[in-house]
Symmetry: C2
Subunit: 413 residues, 2 copies
């Protein structure tokens, strides 16, 4: 089954609202094995909406439409749908009751515009919306299914989850598309692709490999499209095993998760704790670790040692080390990491010191340089890397490099 | 001038990536007075890309294309564009030099796929991409402008800001549209809109007000569309003054900048320094402050005091305070803030302790509760707030609330 999504609304086209609905719907449809072949945003203009519906009916079995169902006069979707399907508006008592109940609870009096929302196209199946006054509408026409829903994200999600997806499941949809995600860190996309070129060219016809990079992390996605689910499953497992044997050091997870989630789970399962001493990353490693619910189980805390003074006073970095090697040095990183571990009593600790940029670099230590130290009960190891010139990207890359050092250490335990 | 945006990529259609590029581009184009009439997402399939380009050329003067320019074989945009424009790939020395310089910095060796990225369609104008290996490409054909850019957001934004927008301006696009941005913090969109309803209804025909919210910050954009620039300028100034008199406490800047930028400039101009003690925000305030280049001028550092032990041991919070009032209390926040100021010797300091969620709330202190303390030479002030239940949003809101307390204090000096 092929689907497409049409988002209606001037506010998206002028950039006032970012359309997050379509991505959410695409994920849900893909999980059902329905292939989304197009997402489009059209303005609140009748002929553009009709044009998009015509085009969609040519190529898709299921057309999901969001937006343009509000009570104000710029929302014209409902009338346009009536024209498109050759039907007229009729009053729905069920929808009216829902509107009365919703507005009654919010102590809002019902006005003419609200009453207008109780009128629905005669040929549609009404999808009740308990979260708002505009109902969803399910049409079957030209051998296609068309579903129109409000653009308010939580109303759309409610109608999708409670009405549309159950109805789609009932109608026996199952296309057999399956995915597997492999998370990698440590190699740029071009190099990874070169390395995996032979693997990719040997893939059977029913399997595709995609590279989905996002600042430092590359997600590899294998997609199987065999009619037989068990066959897809087996083939995907076989290819994942092959991938794992080809790039074992680069894979940090076989499911869609972040480095900080992986580390968190490792620390929790080993009953270990971690602390951080951050200079150039300015708190970002702490933020990443604590973005995970329950991170207080394993994160004791950290020191953001931005000035040299703090490095010395709080972390106990020796002035001599800074004078001799500079604040951006593996020596300084080591003393920072040892200092924070001593201070917090954590099992392990990690420290960063570097030059995020855009200025502050030297010939020997250019912008993008970072020194990272990891301290455990067995001592301290350090590494240094050179990344790019963009401050925000560098902070992200430095943080990932530090988290990956932690991951590699924990994995070897 | 009418524009449309085509985003290419299977990852958007399967919902793995949300297309935030199109919304950003739409905002930029609207600011230039260019109307965006369509946004569409198409898969990495040649015939679908060509179909979208054909359709776009029928109705739009400017077609912006993102995605599908990576070095891997699933990225087919470049070859498809060659077919579409009837041209062939030629090697660009300039692009090759950029790739060498980028990868050289990262100490990565250049491979065949990288070299492939130096090949560009012969008929295009190359838009150099200093942030990545895939250049932007500007085509003029059928009386239309087509621009293809990588889908990586920071690369696209770089090419748009540094190449495309200047070129569009050069090509004489000047619709006389003018904007003013007013940055507000502290009131939800619906309430702000209700408050500004009379102001909005009194706006003259040539001026429009738009609300551009992004998690806690609402940018108010006034747009003037008069043929006479000087008149637009004067009218905008008059309306901005009116706005300032209506919501003086909510406006933190009259230009597009972040709270952390505003605070940074205030601290620098007053030769003051700041330090942070973060519990529930886990380093995010430090990260925000240090995301600004040159923040080492005024940020000494901070302590991420995630565990109670660290609050006591490093920051000197009294155990009694935690026992009597709890770790999430204005009393604890005050001692944290005083502790970090003492430790770092900064002019002022700010501390957060709270419950980011999703669990850990109690009846009296529900998830979303945060206590914030600000310490200066004159003592400590505290505030507490209750936000929502989403962890990531709460961390952001807690951090903004803390930064805003700092701003209000600095402003009053």
């Amino acid at each position: 089954m092929k689907a497409e999504i049409i988002a209606i609304g001037d506010e998206i086209l002028i950039g006032q609202t970012t359309d997050t609905n379509s991505g959410w719907m695409a994920t849900e449809l893909n999980a059902l094995g329905i292939e989304v072949i197009s997402i489009s945003v059209v303005p609140d203009k009748g002929e553009r909406i009709t044009g998009a519906l015509d085009k969609a009916a040519e190529r898709s079995d299921l057309i999901l439409i969001t937006g343009g169902l509000g009570p104000t006069s710029d929302d014209i979707t409902k009338n346009t749908l009536c024209d498109f399907f050759g039907t007229t508006l009729v009053r729905s008592d069920e929808v009216m009751k829902n509107i009365e109940s919703l507005l009654g609870r919010r102590r809002v009096t019902i006005n003419e515009k609200n009453i207008g929302q109780a009128f629905v196209p005669a040929s549609c199946r009404v999808l009740m919306n308990l979260m708002g006054t505009a109902p969803g509408m399910w049409f079957e026409s030209r051998g296609r299914i068309f579903v129109s829903m409000p653009g308010v994200p939580y109303e759309m999600k409610h109608i999708m989850s409670e009405r549309v997806i159950p109805l789609l499941k009932e109608s026996g949809i199952d296309s057999g598309i399956m995915h597997r995600n492999i998370m990698t860190y440590g190699m740029p996309e071009a190099h990874l692709a070169e390395m995996l070129q032979p693997f990719e060219s040997e893939l059977p016809d029913g399997i595709r490999l995609a590279y989905l990079p996002s600042s430092g992390i590359i997600k590899l996605r294998l997609t199987a499209r065999y009619p037989d689910k068990a066959f897809s499953e087996a083939e995907l497992t076989r290819q994942v095993e092959k991938l794992k044997s080809l790039i074992p050091g680069l894979i940090y997870s076989e499911k869609e998760e972040s480095l900080e989630e992986v580390i968190g789970n490792m620390l929790r399962s080993k009953s270990m704790t971690i602390s951080t001493a951050e200079s150039c990353t300015g708190g970002n490693i702490g933020r990443m670790i604590t973005s995970i619910p329950g991170s207080s189980d394993y994160f004791t805390g950290g020191v953001i040692a931005y000035s040299n003074d703090i490095k010395e006073k709080i972390l106990g970095v020796r002035r001599e080390t800074i004078i001799r090697h500079g604040a951006v040095s593996t020596e300084c990183a080591a003393e920072m990491s040892e200092g924070v571990r001593r201070l917090t009593g954590s099992t392990i600790s990690v420290a960063t010191t570097g030059i995020a940029g855009p200025s502050g670099g030297t010939l020997l230590k250019p912008v993008g340089t970072v020194c990272i130290a990891l301290t455990t009960g067995h001592g301290t190891v350090t590494k240094s890397f050179v990344y790019g010139t963009d401050r925000i990207l560098n902070i992200r890359r430095f943080s990932l490099a530090a988290l990956n050092m932690v991951r590699v250490h924990l994995k070897a335990l």
